[in-house]
C-alpha cells in the first residue's frame, strides 16, 4: 500500500472534496493501483530520456528549427484583443452564481 486513508483525506481536503467513507475506500484502491502501475513503468531504464511534461513537447514543434524557433509558433505578439476580443461584461458575469452587474459576488472572504 503506497497510499493510506489519511493521505486520501488530506488530498481530498486540499481539493475541497467531501468524500463519503465508501468513496474514500474506492479512491484508496484506485490511487494505489495507479501507483503500482507507475512502479512497473519505473522498472524501465529512463536514464537518458529527458522528462516529458506534455505530449505537445514531443509532437507540436517545428523540427526543422532549432532553439527558440523550435517552439516559436506557440507564442503570440503583444496585441490587445489580437487573438480574441474580451467578452462583454454581461456575458462574462452570466454563468456566475452571484453577480451585481459589475462584480462577481462571493461569500465574504475574511483575511484575518
Amino acid at each position: 500500500m503506497k497510499v493510506s486513508d489519511k493521505d486520501v483525506s488530506y488530498v481530498a481536503e486540499l481539493a475541497n472534496l467531501e468524500l463519503t467513507a465508501e468513496e474514500r475506500a474506492r479512491m484508496l484502491r484506485d490511487l494505489n493501483s495507479i501507483l503500482e502501475y507507475i512502479d512497473r513503468l519505473n522498472q524501465l531504464n529512463t536514464e537518458n530520456v529527458p522528462p516529458m511534461a506534455q505530449v505537445s513537447n514531443r509532437y507540436a514543434v517545428d523540427d526543422s528549427k532549432q532553439g527558440s524557433e523550435h517552439f516559436a509558433y506557440a507564442m503570440r505578439e503583444d496585441i490587445p484583443n489580437g487573438l480574441r476580443p474580451s467578452l462583454p461584461r454581461e456575458e462574462a458575469l452570466k454563468n456566475a452564481p452571484d453577480a451585481d452587474g459589475t462584480f462577481f459576488k462571493v461569500p465574504k472572504v475574511i483575511e484575518r
Binding site: Y10, E13, L14, N16, A53, Q54, S56, N57, A60, V61, Q66, G67, S68, H70, F71, A74, M75, R76, E77, D78, I79, P80, N81, G82, L83, R84, P85, S86, L87, R89, A92, L93, D98, D100, T102, F103, F104, K105, V106, P107, K108, V109, E111, R112
Partner: protein, 491 residues
C-alpha cells in the same frame, strides 16, 4: 511605533536578523500573459476578461512573447543567468479571485537564477543574492469594503487576472530592515531603468512579501521565520520588519518558540497580526503545466534581448560622478530615473560647461524643489532650462545673482527658465565697469606683495586677485570681466 518593552537593547544585540524578500513586479505589456485581453489599469471591472482568463473549461493559454522578453530583460539587469529551457507549472490553491483554481507560475525550472544587486549599507557595498526570477500570471482583485452587502459578500474584479508578473526572490542575505529598504529601492530603480514595469506600489504593480527570522549571533542555522505579506510601501516594510525583529526576540528571550506563519502588517497600529490560515494552505501541489510548451530562450534570442539593456543606475552613477565631477549624493538624485538622467546628460552635454549644469542642479535647483516639496521630475525648470541658464552665466550675460532671481521667478510662476527669461525681457548684467574698477583698485592697493609677485612673472597670483574682487563684489561681478580688467590693470 510599538516596541515590546521587554526587548532590551542588550537582548537585541544578542541576535542577528535574517531577511529575505519576494517582490512581484507587473510587466508593462499591453495584453495579458496567456490571452489577448487588455492589461489597462483602471478600466471598468470585469471588462477585460475572456474565456481564457476566466478559467472556462477547454480553453488554452498562448504565451505573450513580449512578457518573456520583459522578464528576461529584468533578469539580465539583475545579473541573473537565463535558463535556456524553463518550464511553466501549476500552483494549486483555492481563492475566489483565482478562477482556474491554479496559478500558472514556474517552479523547479524558473526563467532565471543566480543574480545579485549591490546595496549600500553601513558596512559599505554589499551584494545581495537573487535566487530566482520567474514568470507567472497575476490573480484578480477582491474588494472587501465599500458595498452595501460588504458584511456578507466580497466583490471580485478579474481584470487583473492573467496580467504578467515576475517574481524576484532574494537570498536570505539582508541583516537589517535598513538593508531591506535599500535593496527594494535599488531593485525598483533597476526595474524602472529597464522600462519593463512602472513599479507603482499604489497601483499594485510592485508588491513585496518579507521573510524574517532571527538567530543568536554566530549561529549558522537559521531561526524559524515568519512571512509578512502585502505591505504597500517600502517604509511600512521597514517598520513591519522592525516590529517583527522585536517580536521574535521578545518571544525567544522569554523562552517561547516562533511559529512559522504568515502575518499581515497594520500600518496604523504599527503591528503585525498572524493570519488564521490552515497549515495545508502551503501545499500547492505544483506540477508541470500540460497546456504550455517548455519556454526555450536560446542564446540568439537572449543576445537580441540583451541589446535593449540600458546602462544601469549603478554604472551610470559611477560614470556621471567621474564625467561631471559631481558628488555621489547628487549623482543618486540625478539618476533616480532613467528619464531624469537622460535629460540631465543631454543638457550637460549641450551646455558650454557640463559641470556648471551639475552644480546649478545641486546648488540652485535642489534647494528650491525641497522648499516647495517637489520631486525633481516636477520641477518647473527643466534640465534644458538649467543648461540655458548655465550658458548665460558662463558667457557673462547674466550674473550669479541674476540667475538666482530668475530661478525664483520661474518657481513662482511655475514656468521654465527660457520662458521666464523671455518674459523678463532677456536681462543682461551691466557691463558698467566703474564700480568694479573701484573694487579692483582697492584690492590692488591692499595687496602690494602679491602685485610685486605678479609683475615678477608669477601669473598664478591672478587667481588670488579675482577671488578677492569676487568676494568684495559679493559674487555679483562677472568673473570673466573681472579677469580682463585685472589683467589690464596689473600689466
Amino acid at each position: 511605533m510599538v516596541t515590546s518593552s521587554e526587548t532590551s537593547v542588550a537582548a537585541r544585540a544578542k541576535y542577528e536578523p535574517v531577511i529575505g524578500l519576494e517582490v512581484h513586479v507587473q510587466l508593462l505589456t499591453a495584453s495579458k500573459i496567456f490571452c489577448s485581453c487588455s492589461t489597462r489599469f483602471g478600466d471598468p471591472p470585469n471588462t477585460n476578461v475572456c474565456p481564457v482568463c476566466l478559467g472556462m473549461p477547454g480553453v488554452l493559454p498562448v504565451l505573450n512573447r513580449k512578457a518573456v522578453e520583459f522578464a528576461v530583460l529584468a533578469a539580465m539587469a539583475l545579473n541573473c543567468q537565463i535558463r535556456e529551457t524553463s518550464i511553466f507549472a501549476r500552483k494549486n490553491y483555492f481563492y475566489p479571485d483565482l478562477p482556474k483554481g491554479y496559478q500558472i507560475s514556474q517552479y523547479d525550472k524558473p526563467l532565471a537564477e543566480h543574480g545579485w544587486i549591490e546595496v549600500t549599507t553601513k558596512g559599505g557595498i554589499k551584494k545581495i543574492g537573487i535566487t530566482r526570477v520567474h514568470l507567472e500570471e497575476d490573480a484578480g482583485k477582491s474588494l472587501h469594503e465599500g458595498f452595501p452587502d460588504a458584511a456578507e459578500k466580497t466583490a471580485i474584479d478579474l481584470n487583473r487576472t492573467g496580467v504578467p508578473l515576475i517574481e524576484i526572490v532574494s537570498e536570505p542575505e539582508m541583516s537589517s530592515p535598513d538593508e531591506a529598504y535599500e535593496y527594494l529601492t535599488r531593485l525598483k530603480e533597476i526595474v524602472l531603468y529597464t522600462g519593463v514595469s512602472d513599479v507603482n506600489m499604489e497601483e499594485g504593480s510592485l508588491r513585496c512579501d518579507a521573510n524574517i527570522s532571527v538567530r543568536p549571533r554566530g549561529q549558522k542555522e537559521l531561526g524559524t521565520k515568519s512571512e509578512v505579506k502585502n505591505v504597500n510601501s517600502f517604509r511600512f516594510i521597514r517598520e513591519a520588519l522592525e516590529y517583527e525583529i522585536d517580536r521574535h526576540i521578545g518571544v525567544l528571550e522569554s523562552g517561547g518558540r516562533i511559529s512559522q506563519e504568515t502575518r499581515l502588517y497594520d500600518a496604523n497600529e504599527g503591528k503585525t497580526y498572524g493570519m488564521r490560515s490552515k497549515e495545508q494552505a502551503h501545499d500547492y501541489r505544483y506540477f508541470p503545466e500540460p497546456d504550455l510548451l517548455p519556454l526555450a530562450i536560446d542564446e540568439k534570442w537572449q543576445a537580441k534581448i540583451r541589446e535593449s539593456l540600458p546602462e544601469l543606475p549603478e554604472t551610470r552613477r559611477r560614470r556621471i560622478v567621474a564625467e561631471y565631477g559631481i558628488t555621489e549624493k547628487d549623482a543618486i538624485v540625478l539618476t533616480a530615473t532613467k528619464f531624469l538622467a537622460d535629460q540631465f546628460e543631454a543638457a550637460a552635454k549641450a551646455a558650454k560647461n557640463p559641470k556648471r549644469v551639475a552644480n546649478l542642479v545641486q546648488s540652485e535647483l535642489a534647494g528650491r524643489l525641497k522648499a516647495k516639496g517637489l520631486e525633481i521630475e516636477q520641477s518647473p525648470i527643466s534640465m534644458n532650462g538649467v543648461a540655458m541658464s548655465a550658458d548665460l552665466v558662463e558667457s557673462g550675460v547674466i550674473s550669479g545673482k541674476m540667475l538666482k532671481e530668475l530661478y525664483d521667478v520661474a518657481f513662482e510662476r511655475g514656468k521654465d527658465f527660457p520662458v521666464v527669461y523671455e518674459e523678463e525681457g532677456r536681462p543682461e548684467q551691466s557691463r558698467d565697469t566703474s564700480t568694479l574698477q573701484k573694487i579692483i583698485d582697492e584690492v590692488i592697493a591692499a595687496n602690494p606683495k602679491q602685485v610685486e609677485q605678479y609683475r615678477a612673472g608669477k601669473k598664478t597670483v591672478l587667481g588670488f586677485f579675482v577671488g578677492q574682487v569676487m568676494k568684495l563684489s559679493k559674487g555679483q561681478a562677472n568673473p570673466q570681466l573681472v579677469n580682463e580688467l585685472l589683467a589690464k590693470k596689473l600689466e
